[in-house]
Amino acid sequence: MNWLFLHSNQILTFVKSITDGKLLIVPVLIEGSWHLQAQNPDSINEFPNSPFRATESLKTFLFIPAESVGGEIPSEKETVIFGAKSCDLPALQILDKLFLEGAFEEPFYSERRKKTIIIAEDCSDCLPSCFCVAVGNTPYPENTADLIFSDVEGGKLVAAATERGEELLKKHGGSFSAATELQLSEQKEKRNAIKEKVKISLQEQKIEIPENIAEILQKKWPDKIWEKIAETCVECGACNFVCPGCHCFSLTDELTSEGKALRTRVWDACLSENFTRVAGGANPNKKREVRLRHRLERKFIAPYEAEEGYACSGCGRCIDACIGKLDMRKIIQEVANA
């Protein structure tokens, strides 16, 4: 990657220049949690960033929770999202493959994706639920985002990871200089330190995730183990909704008060009982433990969701969201030790 240096006194100018006229989404601290929210560009006084991932994932803005899809495809507003983290990015690759490739392109996602600039930055801290390092990910972005930022003394390092990112740097990059060796080694040190911090956090919680998760899940474990694990699942679907890579949805049809047919695409959850049910009542995933295992299989067995590796980036959102206190890291451990 070609890293450039942006002096701290240039950062705001750069942010203003890049967001000019666009919808701006930034991380905002609300009652102790970071949330991605729309913000008036005029109110920005510093580089929008959070120490770790926000509660919302990027899909909230690209594959929105509910959308009218039965009519014309609307033209979306140009958007810039700041505050993407490394654990947000693998999911974007999954969504891109699903919605942009194959026999049918999903025009609503496609329109938003095309018009959204994604700016990611290294994590400087981690949450107890973070486990990126245990599933082959890092707490610093290395690809997929348009621009990647790292904090260094006196400013920020920036690199483009997409063609769009390259263009942005060309267009707005008058005040950049090439990163020095010293700055690059500072970046490396900081990156190693945060990686180490996530590892220590996992050790302190006594979480050891085995390397062969796919193999563990593929074994025909007695249903009893999964029955016990699934005992506290209330099928709320929160894990599905907060997951950056879960993409399942339903199409619902209704009549408006004017008698017009309205078709809406809404997020759906594979944890809910009727997700695979068909008319007449047949339902391959009728049992709750089967649905829970199914979700984990989709995340860890290639090529179910990801072509290779895992479709889980270790963001830990599902752990924080679960009111049944289900923690997929512990589930994997439990199944591995069964």
């Binding site: 049918f104 047949a282 089967v290």
Partner: protein
């Protein structure tokens, strides 16, 4: 800008044919022709109520009209069954992969095993096979219905079982009329001694899941290769375009990689018959 794959093509309901107590055929005229191949499906919508996947039962060679045979079994089919000619419906498609009637099937002996309302999608396949009957060594059909009263397309069945280039036999699970002259028993009971050279044949199975399971087991017992058994995997195909996740089966989307899938592709996954 790509086309909107969620948008239905308006289709006028021209006729409703009563096939049995619970099954009706809807004859539709879409606003623009829908060209499909046998085995592909469509999403049929009652505007403002909902949509569901169906495989057309008419000939794929006819594009300006489409027959869809529907069993009254759930929310949308109940509304459909109450509709009268003139109603407007919506169609999306064609979706999914068809039977390889011009490729893998070519030059082969074709065995078609059907059950119940599975005859509806098979009818469009049989029309397609009849259209190119000279390209196959033979077509053998074994079909099972619950009772003589449950047999749909009665006139066509009479014709196809008595006077057609196909070797076509229908069995009923039980004869509640006292007039049935054909075999009585599950369809698997008329799968022995088939006039088929298995090493040169492909088999198609379509019907209720339990029937598909036992018919497939029977075919395997008879010596059919996994890769030559074509199954209609009807799962909850909601979006129909390989995105929504409801019809996932292992790494596949049944709506995109199927609904016609060979047994070798899916045999290692759980709950394929559920």
């Amino acid at each position: 800008m790509p086309e909107n794959p969620y948008k239905s093509i308006p289709a006028k309901l021209l006729d409703v044919i009563e096939e049995s107590g619970t099954i009706k055929t809807f004859v539709l005229k879409p606003e623009r022709p829908i060209l499909f191949e046998a085995g592909q499906f469509i999403e049929m919508a009652v505007p403002g109520v909902g949509e569901a996947p169906f495989t057309p039962s008419s000939s794929p060679a006819v594009s300006e009209k489409m027959d869809v045979t529907v069993m009254r079994v759930g929310k949308i089919t109940e509304v459909l069954h109450d509709l009268s000619p003139g109603a407007m419906l919506g169609l999306r498609g064609p979706l999914g992969k068809p039977y390889p009637v011009d490729t893998e099937f070519k030059g082969k002996e074709i065995l078609v095993i059907g059950g119940g309302v599975g005859l509806a999608p098979l009818r469009s396949l049989l029309y397609a096979l009849l259209d190119r009957i000279d390209t196959y060594k033979k077509v053998v059909v074994r079909f099972g219905a619950r009772s003589p009263q449950d047999i749909i397309y009665k006139d066509l069945m009479k014709k196809w079982t008595t006077n057609s280039p196909m070797d076509f036999v229908i069995s009923v699970d039980a004869d509640d009329t006292g007039k049935w002259k054909g075999p009585v028993g599950m369809v698997t009971t008329i799968m022995d001694d088939l006039p088929i050279n298995i090493s040169d044949a492909v088999a198609v199975v379509c019907g209720p899941p339990i029937m598909m399971k036992f018919a497939t087991l029977k075919l395997l017992e008879l010596g059919y290769a996994d890769s030559r058994i074509y199954l209609s995997m009807e799962k909850n195909m909601s979006c129909g375009i390989g995105k929504c996740g409801h019809c996932r089966l292992g790494p596949y989307f049944v709506c995109e990689d199927g609904p016609v899938m060979t047994y070798d592709k899916i045999k290692n996954y759980e709950a394929i018959w559920d």
